[in-house]
């Protein structure tokens, strides 16, 4: 169907029907001081040739380094079939058509995605994806307040070991909606949320406990004990998980005696390239009991008037295009294209493939940590087991060392000084299955060299 824009005549007719003199009059509610009247700050346009040259220069700066940064976005091998399928014309859009049921293929792919995510997380129902991992955590907190009617406080316990960006987005989204947040410290020797830290909140009214597994430091949390502790106090448990890790770790649906209540996370590790930070997709699964409080949409399997199988959108009545201000979310209905990448990735890898990726990533990280901590001045910080990331400390500020490594074509990890100054000169490193022993040796020898001059001096 071709796209037919409205004509000047159409516009005049519509304006006269509603009694507005011109299109500008439709925006008169916006105060003049909030309007941008000129776009002088924007540079002039570039020709196609100039854009190609600029982007080629940018591309040369990117993508060649050997990357040991994780911290929420992970480099995994993506089977070639994933993106060659997605970029087909039938799929290449972030949008579900407005008459969604006319696009049965799109709905079927969402249905397959939901089935796989529910199974991976051990939950009963999944939505059709969300904007990204950070906003999914914010949405989960808002949802928990709607779902937990016993708690009057609208208070959420957030660990300090939750990804700092997830934390910031959650506060930005939810503080203005009347939610309150308390920070749970991490154990300085082990990096996890210990039950001792929770004791301070005994007897308080709180709505939900957020548990990230593995946490931002890569550390494995005591999820069973934390889940049972929260449930014993009639609070909900929001699990924030790396989907790849679920091939090896216990799914949130099986945490503790009753399992987590809401599961969210960043879907990027499933088939989405790092691409300088996005676009990615968020995921959310839950129990049937809470499905009506879940934001976003769900695709259901059904039959048409003649009894033939098909797919249709369900729970749309709670979306913003129908329910406006009372919608369960005003952020995002779903992130179609990236979700499709995740679906194809999971389908191509299968359960065993995913398990091999997770196990190889863990093994490579162990190898990396061993190689780096063999260097004088490099220490591992937390004693507890990790998934595929670990925190190391150096004997000097991290940033200059990372700059030296970058010159050698190595992205050496994330400097934690801004987010966790209490750790001192700390570095978060990650290795996935994409790193070979040679890559790890190259990193270790470059780091050893970068640290040498100061020791000699």
């Amino acid at each position: 169907m071709p796209f037919i824009p409205h004509t000047d005549d159409d516009e005049r007719e519509m304006l006269s029907a509603i009694g507005a003199p011109d299109i500008e009059a439709l925006f008169d509610e916006i105060p003049p001081n909030l309007r941008v009247t000129s776009l002088d700050e924007l540079p002039a346009g570039l020709s196609e040739l100039e854009v190609m040259q600029l982007m080629a220069a940018r591309a040369r700066q990117d993508g060649r380094a050997s990357c040991f940064i994780g911290a929420g976005a992970y480099e995994h091998h993506i089977p070639a079939a994933v993106w060659s399928t997605i970029t087909r014309g039938e799929f290449y859009s972030a949008y579900t058509p407005y008459q969604a049921e006319a696009s049965q293929g799109t709905l079927q792919s969402i249905y397959e995605y939901q089935s796989m995510m529910a199974s991976l997380t051990g939950m009963q129902v999944s939505n059709a994806s969300l904007y990204d991992g950070a906003s999914a955590v914010a949405e989960a907190c808002l949802m928990a307040v709607r779902a937990n009617r016993r708690s009057k406080a609208a208070r959420i316990l957030l660990p300090r070991s939750l990804h700092p960006h997830y934390r910031a987005v959650t506060l930005t989204t939810a503080l203005n909606q009347g939610l309150a947040f308390d920070t749970l410290p991490f154990a300085r020797d082990a990096g996890h949320v210990s039950l001792d830290a929770l004791a301070a909140h005994d007897g308080e009214d709180f709505t939900a406990l957020v548990i990230q597994q593995p946490n931002f430091f890569g550390v494995i949390e005591e999820v069973d004990a934390l889940t049972d502790w929260a449930h014993a106090r009639e609070a909900l448990v929001i699990a924030v998980v790396n989907p790849i890790s679920l091939a090896l770790l216990k799914p949130p649906g099986e945490w503790g005696a009753k399992g987590a209540d809401i599961v969210v996370g960043e879907g990027q590790p499933l088939g989405c390239p790092l691409s300088s930070g996005g676009p990615y997709f968020g995921f959310m699964t839950t129990r049937m009991q809470h499905v009506r409080q879940m934001p976003g949409r769900i695709v259901g399997a059904t039959v048409d008037a003649d009894g033939r199988p098909g797919f249709s959108l369900t729970l749309q009545a709670r979306e913003q295009h129908i329910r406006r201000a009372k919608a369960t979310s005003n952020i995002c209905t779903n992130q179609g294209l990236l979700m499709l990448a995740g679906t194809l990735y999971l389908a191509l890898m299968g359960a065993q493939g995913l398990e091999r990726v997770a196990a190889a990533s863990m093994a490579r990280t162990e190898e990396l940590v061993r190689a780096l901590t063999a260097i004088a001045g490099v220490r591992r910080v937390f004693a507890r087991p990790v998934f595929h990331e670990a925190v190391l400390t150096l004997d000097r500020p991290v940033a200059p060392v990372l700059a030296v490594l970058a010159q050698r074509g190595i992205q050496g990890g994330l400097d934690l000084i801004d987010h966790y100054p209490e750790l001192g000169p700390a570095l978060l490193v990650c290795a996935t299955e994409t790193k070979s022993s040679a890559d790890i040796e190259a990193y270790a020898s470059a780091l050893s060299e970068a640290l040498r001059p100061a020791r000699a001096a």
Binding site: R149, R292, A317, R318, I322, R323, K326
Partner: protein, 129 residues
């Protein structure tokens, strides 16, 4: 033509009110409202004991095409809810003035008759809308 029983009071937001003994008021949605919404799939009910301000949104009826709030017609305390609606929201479609009742309230303020419509006035409103 939808049914509009003459012995009930109505609101502009399509709730009906029935006076029960001891000052209790029963609330539901009109036949016209259930017809406009279509097949109901879910009803979200308030907790018994909750205090409501006049005009406060206190329940949600959700159909396959829309979700609408139910408003308290008067400041009141919730004394009972129709728990059968949790399993069978279609009772509202089948019997909006009977088995499809939504909640019972004990008003904590004077029931402001001025804001409520008679069956005749509501009929005019429903016909216009």
């Amino acid at each position: 033509m939808s049914k509009i029983p003459a012995d009930l009071k109505y609101t502009r937001s399509h709730e009906w009110l029935k006076a029960l003994p001891e000052g209790i008021v029963e609330i539901g949605i009109s036949d016209h409202a259930q017809e406009s919404l279509g097949d109901l799939v879910f009803v979200e009910l308030p907790e018994v004991g909750r205090s409501l301000a006049a005009g406060e949104a206190c329940a949600v009826v959700e159909s396959v095409k829309a979700a609408s709030d139910i408003y308290a017609p008067v400041a009141a305390t919730v004394v009972a809810i129709n728990v059968q609606l949790a399993e069978s929201p279609e009772l509202i479609n089948q019997d909006p003035y009977g088995r499809g009742w939504i909640m019972r309230l004990r008003p904590t303020a004077q029931l402001a008759d001025s804001g409520l419509l008679s069956a005749l006035d509501y009929q005019a409103l429903a016909a216009a809308g």
